[in-house]
């Protein structure tokens, strides 16, 4: 039917079907600011205003919207870059940019529109009203803290209330206790606006799916309805005969190449156990066939026409069953390639056995032995942008893969053998990414459109559906963990032992490295005291097993999350049993500056280990700040504070957790950067690093700008394109600011050196002062200045070097290989109220104090903390992905999976206690991962403090609290 859509005041006559959503119609019209997220009416990324009210455009038929005024973010304001350069952002857009409310930016247009609706009807909203309005837009990056402040700031400005505006802007900033080294910096340490904020706040076509090609086909995948089976027969003839279908591929049609989907450096530290398509399915959602067709509807019809006969096999759901004698073998294919101690014949994807010191002697010397069992659930990253890949042959017959990935260079390398193409025939382009959190550290689905492009010669687009994201992506590993700790009466830990049983699901991409971090990060924090501090006794054993559930992979925290939950619960119970303050007990036994990382001689992500000393560790200072911020001493042991006046069924509690992560993988992680100078004194910086919303493009540019003496706007960043940027291992292992940042700094130093040489020559050629040496030139304020104050501008140097004399391209190229993995440290404290009779838990406040080294940008760094806290809160309270006994997933969409929404977030407080990490030119360590890790155990420990009830499995649900409370009685 033909309808007319009124979009931003413009009439569009469009032909739609009865089934066409407003989202599809708008995107077909080119309004790519309307983002396709879950496409199921839950995530809110597709929000538009319909007659001024926010609605999910995926849940409105295009025909329904006819006759109504539709407004997208394109109508609000934007940057004109034509003859008359103007910047006319809406005050809301300005505020979002100013306070760092934009991380990945995928949900930003939806948030801005929803906020506009709110302010149109209520110019002076309360914070709670803002949070309620934003409740329909899921944001996993920001923890909503800065978007809420942005809306309040914009509202205040629009009302002319500058005092409140200043207050809200200030509230977006964290407390930073800086080291003296940063005093002379101009860009490092500043809350600079993100380099990509303008395009994101305007909803420009920056993401993988915001890209159209003529003749592009749509890919769909037939997925297994059963958890474990052989494909006895598959008939695609009817599907192939359907008009509009261009290819139907099964395991018989493509090269049989065994590989790993884990996006990691070569050689992959894990088993090779995956095929693009196989004659066996190993979980509900496993691949059966690929289809490419003219439209999504035709592709879906074709899937229905594929006939498959399955021979069902016994199913393993519980990881403990995988290790039992006679268990069904999930990987019996002859091509399977073991890594380390993996043993497919026993369903073991990875095995670790580490003994440090003499654990049995440590136990024998202890006054008490504490044992505990813990369990943490499978959980999803819940990024807003689904996995998207578009593939096509370019004019040189090279395969271009435009994909939402955290690992463009690994994707290129790992795809090559799967597609039977040389690496040089593939170009991977990472556009803006709508969040990943580890879930896109995977060569998860790029092979599908690539095979179909090879089969058809046509461009192919493949977008994961909401159901595919929840049933066939790569969530966090479910683990069962046993801990045993020997302790002396004074609280000295004499020995620590952990056994982790990790469930990798049907494939083992990150089987070894994730569980390795469970011990490496969580167990290493507590070494003991006195002589035990010098010679800690630690045992870490782990088995990662296959089950017939969704394969698991990388998720922010990467194994440490599971370990921290268990260890921090365990430490709290020991402290309570000993009658010690839990913070004092932890600090007594925790690693200190100058000590060896106890695991560094035993394990390094499946590579050769090497000794590492902890140079910087502000855990004590962080704990002191945290205690002060929450008034710990007035609450923890205060019976009056635990009571809620007038509500005897409620109890308050406070709990702590401490965290240690790493910063990159030592002697493996490498990143490169290339910087060239332009005539106007600006610079192009090409980095292989993959900014997935974290702000890495911005902080890398800040470091380069610091060296070059220019404002951030003079650094033009291109990142993550395997043809145009140097190698970078990608966005994972908390490495980008450290590794890629050091590379950018080195490249900038090379450029700065050339600028100084040329500036000195230009000044000396003037003959109007003393001879100046390049070493004396200072770069600042877009100028190269001599000690006597004479200067040349960078613009003059740019023109001089490119066009006027001794022409050269001023440029620098460098890479950085991490020699260490300096751990950041943190303390998190949760305050809760618990309903004694029902087990309901309300998390009232979460405080994070972090030692992340030098903070390059306090807005982006605190944004990382706040986003991590949001995910940690979900991990602690609402999120899990259970399965039925026959392997059917009980979570199949965002509707089934509750992530914390804006009104549900507790009071957040973020504090940085800086250290200067000597192995990095600007003293940085990481901040990206560990703020997630402490939240769940801190919440469980706060419940423990409130009721004395011990919940040892996540999430901390009302029923678990209720049962633990009953058990205590």
């Amino acid at each position: 039917m033909e309808i007319t859509l009124n979009v931003n005041g413009k009439q569009h006559a469009v032909e739609v079907s009865a089934d066409t959503s407003l989202l599809d119609a708008l995107r077909d019209l080119g309004y790519s600011s309307v983002k396709r997220g879950c496409n199921d009416g839950t995530c809110g990324a597709c929000t538009v205003l319909l007659d001024g009210k926010p609605v999910y455009s995926c849940s409105v038929l295009a025909a329904q919207a006819a006759g109504h005024a539709i407004q997208t973010v394109d109508s609000l304001g934007g940057q004109q870059t034509g003859w008359d350069f103007t910047l006319d952002l809406h005050p809301l857009q300005e505020a979002f940019v100013e306070v760092g409310a934009i991380q990945c930016g995928f949900c930003t247009p939806a948030m801005v529109l929803t906020a506009k609706h709110l302010l149109d009807k209520n110019p002076d909203p309360t914070e709670q009203e803002v949070r309620d309005a934003l409740s329909g837009v899921i944001c996993r990056c920001t923890g909503y803290e800065k978007p809420v402040k942005a809306v309040l700031l914009a509202a205040a400005r629009m009302r002319g209330d500058e005092e409140k505006a200043r207050r809200f802007a200030a509230e977006a900033m964290p407390e930073v206790y800086a080291v003296p080294q940063v005093e002379g910096y101009h860009r490092v340490g500043q809350p600079d606006r993100k380099v990509d904020a303008l395009k994101l706040v305007q909803g420009k076509p920056a993401f993988a799916e915001d890209f159209e090609m003529p003749g592009m086909l749509i890919a769909k995948v037939l997925r297994s309805p059963v958890a474990h089976a052989r494909i006895k027969r598959i008939d695609t003839s009817k599907a192939k005969a359907l008009p509009g279908v261009h290819a139907v591929l099964t395991w018989k049609d493509i090269p049989r190449v065994v590989y790993s989907t884990a996006g990691q450096s070569d050689p992959i530290p894990g088993p090779l156990d995956t095929f693009s398509l196989d004659n066996k399915v190993r979980f509900v959602g496993d691949r059966v066939a690929f289809v490419a067709a003219e439209t999504e509807e035709i592709a879906e019809q074709a899937l229905q026409l594929i006939e498959v006969e399955y021979e069902e096999l016994p199913v393993i759901i519980d990881p403990e069953d995988a290790l039992k004698e006679g268990a069904p073998i999930i990987h019996d294919e002859p091509e399977y390639v073991d890594f380390g101690e993996s043993d497919a014949g026993k369903n073991i994807a990875a095995r670790i056995r580490i003994d440090i010191g003499d654990v049995e002697k440590g136990f024998a010397e202890a006054d008490y032995i504490f044992e505990g069992e813990y369990e943490v659930p499978r959980v999803h990253q819940a990024y807003s942008e689904p996995h998207v890949a578009i593939t096509y042959w370019d004019e040189n017959d090279r395969l271009v893969v435009r994909t939402s990935t955290q690992v463009p260079f690994h994707t290129r390398r790992q795809l090559a053998p799967v597609l039977n193409l040389p690496i040089k025939k593939i170009r991977v382009v990472k556009p803006r990414i709508g969040g990943g959190f580890g879930g896109k550290q995977e060569v998860l689905m790029e092979d599908i459109p690539a095979h179909l492009t090879i089969a058809t010669g046509r461009p192919v687009k493949y977008v994961y559906t909401d159901e595919e994201e929840f049933t066939a992506a790569r969530p966090r590993h479910h683990m069962k963990i046993r801990l045993k700790t020997g302790v002396k009466k004074d609280g000295t830990i004499t020995a620590n032992e952990m056994y982790a049983l990790s469930d990798t699901g049907a494939y083992g991409g990150h089987a070894l490295t994730v569980v390795g971090n469970t011990g490496h990060k969580a167990m290493a924090l507590y070494v003991g005291d006195g002589e035990y501090r010098k010679h800690p006794n630690i045992r870490f054993y782990a088995d990662t097993v296959y089950t017939n559930t969704v394969p698991t992979g990388a998720y922010r925290g990467y194994g440490a999350t599971q370990g921290v939950f268990s260890v921090e619960r365990h430490m709290d119970k020991i402290a309570r049993a000993l009658g010690m303050d839990p913070i004092a007990f932890r600090l007594k036994n925790a690693l200190r500056p100058g000590e060896y990382h106890p695991f560094s001689l035993a394990w390094n992500e499946g590579r050769e280990p090497s000794p590492e000393t902890i140079d910087t560790n502000a855990l004590r200072e962080a704990a002191a700040k945290a205690k002060e911020a929450v008034k710990w001493d007035e609450k923890y042991n205060n019976p009056e504070w635990h009571k809620v006046p007038g509500k005897p069924h409620l109890r308050r509690g406070i709990g702590v957790a401490m965290m240690m992560q790493g910063t990159s993988i030592a002697k493996l992680d490498m990143g490169g950067a290339f910087i060239k100078m332009n005539e106007d004194g600006s610079f192009n910086m090409m980095v292989g690093a993959a900014d997935l919303g974290t702000g890495s493009d911005t902080v890398l540019a800040q470091m380069a700008a610091e060296v070059l003496g220019v404002p951030l706007e003079d650094i033009i960043v291109v990142s993550g394109d395997t043809d145009f940027t140097p190698f970078d291992k990608g966005a994972y292992a908390s490495s980008t600011t450290y590794v890629s940042g050091a590379a950018a700094t080195r490249a900038a130093e090379q450029v700065a050196e050339r600028i100084r040489i040329r500036a000195a020559a230009m000044l000396n050629a003037r003959g109007d002062g003393d001879e100046v040496s390049p070493a004396d030139i200072v770069l600042a304020d877009r100028k190269a200045t001599a000690p006597d104050g004479r200067f040349v501008t960078l613009r003059e140097i740019g023109f001089n070097s490119i066009h006027h004399e001794n022409q050269e391209q001023i440029m620098g190229a460098a890479s950085f290989l991490s020699q260490a993995s300096p751990p950041p440290f943190g303390v998190q404290i949760a305050e809760v109220t618990v309903d004694v009779e029902t087990g309901q838990v309300w998390v009232d406040a979460l405080t994070t104090v972090a030692d992340a080294g030098v903070v390059i940008n306090p807005l982006t760094a605190s944004g990382q903390v706040e986003g991590g806290v949001n995910q940690g809160l979900g991990y602690g309270t609402t999120e899990e992905m259970p399965y039925t006994p026959d392997g059917q997933p009980l979570v199949r969409s965002f509707r089934d999976y509750h992530v914390p929404l804006a009104p549900e977030m507790p009071r957040l407080k973020t504090i940085f206690v800086e250290t200067f990490e000597p192995s990095h030119p600007f003293g940085v360590k990481s901040v990206a991962e560990y703020p997630l890790n402490g939240v769940a155990p801190a919440v469980a420990n706060a419940v423990y403090n409130a009721l004395g009830a011990s919940v040892d499995s996540g999430p901390v649900t009302p029923e678990k609290v209720w049962r633990a409370s009953k058990a205590k009685k």
Partner: protein
Amino acid sequence: MHLEYHRPQTLDEALTLLAREAPFTVPLAGGAFLNARQRPAALPQEDVAVVDLQDLGLEGITPRGNFTDLGATTPLQALVDADLPQALKEAAYLETTYARRFLQTVAGTLVAADGVSLFAAAMMALDARLTLAPDDEVLPLGELYPDRWRHLRGKLMTKVTIPANAKLVLETVAPSRLSRPLLVVAVAQWPSGRTRMVLGGWGEAPHLAMDGPEPTGAEQAARNAAYEAADHRASAEYRREVAVVLARRALASLE
């Protein structure tokens, strides 16, 4: 998939479309469910034709003596913004998020509801009456749920009537404030003493636990209603025991 889209201008036109034998034709109240890729189990799973109700004037909140009429296509956000009893506003508020409350209508929410719907539990406790065109048949909400499409096929809900003089109390337990509740106890009490208690949080529809002239026996009724209330989110034992607690609290706050 939607086979056809219609936007009738009159109720008669709509009813003519809905009365067709084929294709299966259903009202499009707001769109929050029908347009979604995964429809709730209560809604038809097959391909349907849809009848968009937006031009029929079925929206609005009308006080009528001891009753309040809620137009079928009244969005939930309108209830939140209206001068209605706080617990009813809260039920509409907690049913879904902000943007969905502009799309999701009273009738659509009730028809698509499962047992976890807080709004449906509240409305059932209030003994809400559905008016179905063409004959203005009045159907108690509780009678809709066992076989929804037997009652609704070929008909159109035009309004939902609730008592204006009954007090409503909601007690819930959920993993977080806006997550789907594990247990809901909704109690309505009339000036006469009549007390209706509905439990929710599991199953295909809310469960009527009690409807009596006075609240005597409410705690036992709550326990009984949750007797087999197990699913993957909570055990029956937990729901049984906590239902008693919530029932006690609800009744206490009515006093």
